[in-house]
């Protein structure tokens, strides 16, 4: 009795890894009550593209060329306004997706859900390029973004559901020193390094600090473990990924400030938990690369679980955490054992490293024995069903 209509809309999915693809397929069947079914691209009536995917721009252009009459629905964490496309903001809500799909079907030809005020956008290859092309002034009008302190809600809410910032690296040949170098990053060459250093100074001195750079000032309050920054996540994400040069380094300064006075007049919604801030800043700096300070040949260990309900979830983060807490392993062992992209492991260990909950084994005893591969639980099938249920709801 759950079906809303007699015929499901035929949709094709693009820019989704197998897991996201399956999740969306189940989501359309379950919470969306079968309004649409996923079919091969040649049979589809609507194309759904994850616009946060690394090559979403290319996919969109290809779909427009190959099936110009077919409506395109974009899914993204950020508000998108691209001509001749429909848009649903992630995390996708069943009601919203159902409404938009119904609207698309009811209109005979593609029509903009949001009237464009800008010329047609030409998309680049990266999600950042898509988002950079979008006016941001009114992004909160159609779908208000939660306050920065609740930033986790702007991201995919389930482990394994977020790939927006990864996938910029192609497959890496780890025996090639040049490729290996390109797969690493040095925090000191990014805003991240200055923030980590400033936070250490603030904690050591027990005094609030203001970090000045060529960008916006960042206030660090060690007593409440908060930072204050007048920038949204999109801006931070862009700035995090830029490698800083000497000009930037020359403009850096760190000044002690009076916490009580400094807080006066600051917008309350710009305060963020320092761990949440450092975690996401690291992930956006890492972009799937590993910290240069980590030796890939040596095992790493996790001191404890990250507080995942308040942090930006990267793909397979919970699986990596659970496995690392059983035994120390090298990053590549983790990727192989879990059969996941090394980039996912690198992003995760980068963030844990910044929060100082990751360590690298130094004792020779740690390299003596290869840890056993955990045996799958006899209830794995049941657990998978529970997992799907929790993610699908």
């Amino acid at each position: 009795m759950k079906k809303q209509g007699p015929v499901s809309i035929k949709v094709a999915l693009y820019g989704m890894d197998p897991r996201s693809h399956k999740t969306m397929e189940l989501y359309l069947k379950g919470p969306c009550r079968g309004i649409a079914e996923v079919v091969p691209e040649e049979d589809a009536e609507i194309d759904i593209i994850d616009a946060d995917f690394a090559t979403a721009g290319e996919i969109l252009e290809t779909r427009r060329q190959q099936t110009p009459e077919r409506p395109i629905l974009l899914l993204s964490l950020e508000f998108l306004k691209i001509e001749n496309t429909y848009f649903v903001q992630k995390p996708v809500k069943a009601e919203q997706l159902t409404t938009v799909l119904s609207k698309i079907v009811s209109s005979k030809k593609p029509k903009q859900l949001i009237e464009p005020e800008q010329p047609v956008t030409t998309l680049g290859e990266s999600p950042a390029a898509i988002q950079d092309a979008i006016p941001q002034e009114n992004t909160d009008t159609a779908n208000p973004l939660p306050k920065a302190t609740k930033s986790r809600k702007t991201f995919a809410n389930n482990e394994g559901g977020y790939t927006a910032f990864l996938g910029t690296l192609s497959d890496i040949d780890f025996s090639d020193p040049e490729q290996l170098r390109r797969a690493s990053f040095d925090a000191k060459s990014h805003l991240l390094g200055y923030v980590l250093s400033a936070f250490k100074v603030a904690c050591r001195q027990g005094k609030a600090q203001q970090l000045n750079s060529i960008w916006k000032p960042i206030l660090i309050f060690p007593d409440t473990r908060q930072i204050w920054l007048d920038a949204d996540d999109k801006q931070l994400r862009v700035f995090a990924g830029i490698e800083q040069n000497h000009t930037f380094a020359g403009k850096i300064s760190l000044l002690p400030v009076d916490a009580a006075i400094s807080k006066i007049g600051l917008a309350a919604d710009k305060f963020q938990d320092i761990d949440v801030f450092i975690w996401k800043l690291t992930i956006w700096t890492s972009k799937g690369r590993f910290p240069a300070s980590i030796n890939l040949q040596q095992s790493v260990y996790l001191k404890h679980w990250p507080n995942f309900t308040r942090l930006l979830l990267t793909p397979d983060a919970m699986r990596i955490a659970a496995l690392l807490l059983k035994d120390p392993r090298t990053p590549l062992q983790l990727a192989n054992l879990l059969n996941i992209k090394p980039q996912y492991v690198f992003a995760f260990i980068s963030a844990c490293n910044s929060l100082d909950i990751l360590g690298q084994c130094q004792r020779s005893a740690d390299f003596m024995v290869v840890p056993e591969v955990p045996k799958p639980s006899k209830k794995q099938n049941l657990f998978s069903k529970i997992l799907n249920k929790l993610r699908g709801d």
Partner: protein, 179 residues
């Protein structure tokens, strides 16, 4: 068909009933009664038997969600409840006088069950009282030789409870993959 269950435990007012409601497919069966003892200082009604919710899984299987009564005088029920359980979700209220003592009490009370399965800890009310911090919980757990997931949780938020239960599942089997 086998009956599987996840047990939710913790002190009075930690949010067990709410957490079960957040992920249950059916309105949970509540067994709340007006509080007449020390509990009334914390909430007007409390669970006196157990809460029950259910998750309907693909293929017709069900996961039963049981919440233990918070009051210690009902602890005789806990062994019965855990029989056949796949894991424990421990919810702790950060506004209580000594949340670490609560944590130690429940970890000890369920130690055999945890040794055979796993535990995931959710700390509620952290928006009201940010101390102790999650890091401090981990430090306490380290002295007990445990490294379970510990998350800040708003029991009303489906996503928080969902992630907590997901972490429990991954603790049981890190190789677990969703479809």
């Amino acid at each position: 068909m086998s009956q599987y269950k996840i047990i939710f435990t913790g002190p009075v007012g930690a949010g067990k009933t709410t957490a079960i409601s957040s992920i249950s497919d059916a309105p949970p069966v509540k067994t709340d009664a007006a509080a007449s003892d020390m509990t009334k200082n914390r909430k007007s009604s409390t669970t006196v038997a157990m809460d029950y919710g259910v998750m309907n899984l693909e293929g017709g299987e069900k996961i039963h969600l049981y919440g233990t009564p918070g009051q210690e005088r009902f602890d005789f029920m806990w062994d019965i409840l855990t029989n056949g359980g796949i894991g424990l979700v421990l919810l702790l209220d950060n506004t209580r006088a000594d949340p670490f003592q609560d944590m130690r009490f429940f970890l000890e009370a369920f130690d055999k069950f945890i040794a055979n399965t796993a535990v995931a800890i959710g700390v509620t009310q952290m928006d009201v009282s940010s101390k102790p911090s999650i890091t401090e919980y981990h430090q306490q757990l380290q002295t007990l030789g445990l490294k379970p997931p510990v998350f800040s949780v708003d029991a009303r938020e489906h996503n928080d409870v969902s992630l907590l239960v997901q972490s429990l599942l991954y603790s049981l089997d890190p190789g677990l993959v969703g479809e």
